[in-house]
Subunit: 266 residues, 3 copies
């Protein structure tokens, strides 16, 4: 995988996103920056047509309404039929009954290749009660074994499961990776998680192994975040935000390998 | 109130926003920058659940449709029941019959803690005819007494009323404050008013006195705007935009007191 | 037209936009930067009211749903009745049946003053089959005569037709202009096309000749893009994005004439 980023940029996968309106611009620019081509169409009438020209589908439940939930379910099922890999970002999974019901339906009706969330969100899917604090993680990372949670959800869903936190965890069956790059400051910019999920879509649209694709995406986002923080962290969160996109656009395989912080544990 | 910003950052209030899709990303990042935690869920089915974990609700009518109007009314009523303070931004209040009707229903059905708008918007609520120019203020600030307008609307609604302009006015019953910070250049970046309304939500989610909370928020936004303009005003409005978020994230009580420009008149 | 930008800034046309939620913030900031006043209301119930205070209408189909399609059709017809010029951006025109049907209905029911798209989108309108690659152009620019395509669509619609690409083409009946400014790097920032369409709305809201208005807008965007790339291109696409807005806000008639790259061919 020494040419991961170079290959992605050469392939330029089309990533179809049904995502929230808070961070949609950042998700599109992050996908462009890493070398993919984003499309954001979420009309029920066209999700299947758009999937015919897409290499991956990203479903992010950050902002929901009955209209877009129908589109998400239809897009997910259609992607499964067409063999397009699907990534889920269960934003605030347990913060409302609507989100709980939506995540349940999505997991029942759609087969996901990757599921990415924070520890609260993935723990909810694992059946572990977690107190949500808004859309942020309310779980004490020390009190819960992220690897065990990720493995449990991977087993029940068949997906690669990514839990982002101080250390990021990626589990796929018995395969486990940890990623130590990134910085807590990224939580002070809305949408860094959504951007990562979009980038996972780009990687999985370009590579057949979803575990390596997800780990590479997490490492690339972490390395970009660290570099951005060095450049702009002291200026403020507005400049840090822009610098993250800058660093994604400058990402290459040398940086990813040196600074991605990916450790393949098993 | 010498630790206003420090306390807010320690409390990290969750601010639930039903806002427009034009500036939603900036509102979220502004709330994060000042030390709050934003959630942007606007589905009718979940606004009540989200309010259970929220410290303030912000309703901004910048972009309306029948779906979100129902959510706004339900969220406002639910917040009143749960004792969560509600902030209203009546964007373009008189620009269309839909906006007039929506503002009327919101004021009839929801008790607001703070209402923030420009002179045209608040004058409309006061019953003073104003010619809207798009969503910008069409009223001559010299021709209308902002203090009298703010007091009138405060009396009729029971809310703290904030009128932003060259000099900002805050009125709450007989209490009046004026804020001289800020710069007219902020009107060349879309959403600076929306960001301020979001920040008011963060302050009011952290403090029990809505008058001091609103005045502090206006002063913080004004000081951030002035600092941002000094740093980036000559570069262009894109950099100025980013610098406003930067300066909100750098805001502290020393800056607020020295540069906020808040004068408690009565 | 030596005072094009100065006149636009003096007139400050109100540009009513029904646009997509991916790039709406950039469109608003681009319109503000060039000297216009954006409004983004897309509720069916208010589009006619908002048009009463607008100088131009922009319809951008980047993200569609049945609700907003009705608003677009109603707004377009209302603008025609009120004599407000209408600009169309047929984003991804042939990427789905929904888009094909929507473009067809818009062209049947609304008279457009300007239509702007890439070669694939405008070729689709011209009846030339094009393979869409997501929302990006899939046509080989060398294989298709952009001038002939633009003239054909101008003839069938009566609109000024703008095809953006390596060289931009503007056609209006027998009048043709080419614009050589801009840089391919602009395609790595989502929404540069949408921003241009918004700016065309500002120019056409200020000038009676839609051909000169459109060519001036294309030249201004191209000059801003080139200047932005010189300043920030090597930093990354996040900074480049912000620099484009900066340069639009710094645009003046001296820069436009020296660097706009507009050639009036016929």
């Amino acid at each position: 995988m020494s040419d991961t980023i170079a290959d992605l940029r050469a392939k330029c996968p089309v990533v179809h996103c049904l995502t929230n309106y808070v961070t949609v611009n950042d998700v599109a620019n992050a996908i462009l920056a890493i070398g993919g081509s984003p499309t954001m169409a979420d009309a029920l009438e066209e999700v299947s047509d758009i999937l015919d020209i897409s290499n991956a589908l990203v479903i992010n439940i950050g902002t929901l309404n009955s209209y877009v939930i129908d589109s998400m379910l239809a897009a997910g099922r259609s992607a499964n039929e067409k063999g397009v890999p699907v990534v889920l970002d269960p934003v605030g999974a347990s913060a409302s009954q609507l989100r709980k019901d939506t995540v349940k339906r999505l997991l029942e009706e759609v087969k996901f290749s990757v599921i990415r969330g924070n520890l609260s969100e993935i723990s909810y899917i694992a059946g572990i009660d977690a107190v949500m604090r808004g859309v942020d993680s309310g779980l004490d990372e020390n009190a819960v074994d992220a690897v065990a949670v990720a493995k449990k959800v991977s087993e029940s869903t068949g997906a690669v499961v990514v839990i982002t936190g101080r250390i990021d965890t990626i589990a796929y069956g018995n395969r486990v990776a940890r990623v130590s790059s990134g910085t807590a400051a990224m939580s002070k910019v809305t949408g860094t998680g959504c951007m990562l999920t979009g980038i996972i879509g780009a990687f999985i649209g370009a590579y057949s192994d979803p575990f390596i694709a997800a780990a590479s995406a997490v490492g690339a986002m972490g390395a970009a975040g660290l570099r951005a923080y060095e450049k702009a962290g002291e200026v403020g969160t507005g400049s840090f935000h822009i610098a993250i996109i800058d660093q994604l656009s400058q990402m290459d395989d040398v940086i990813l390998q040196a600074e991605g912080g990916i450790e393949y544990v098993s």
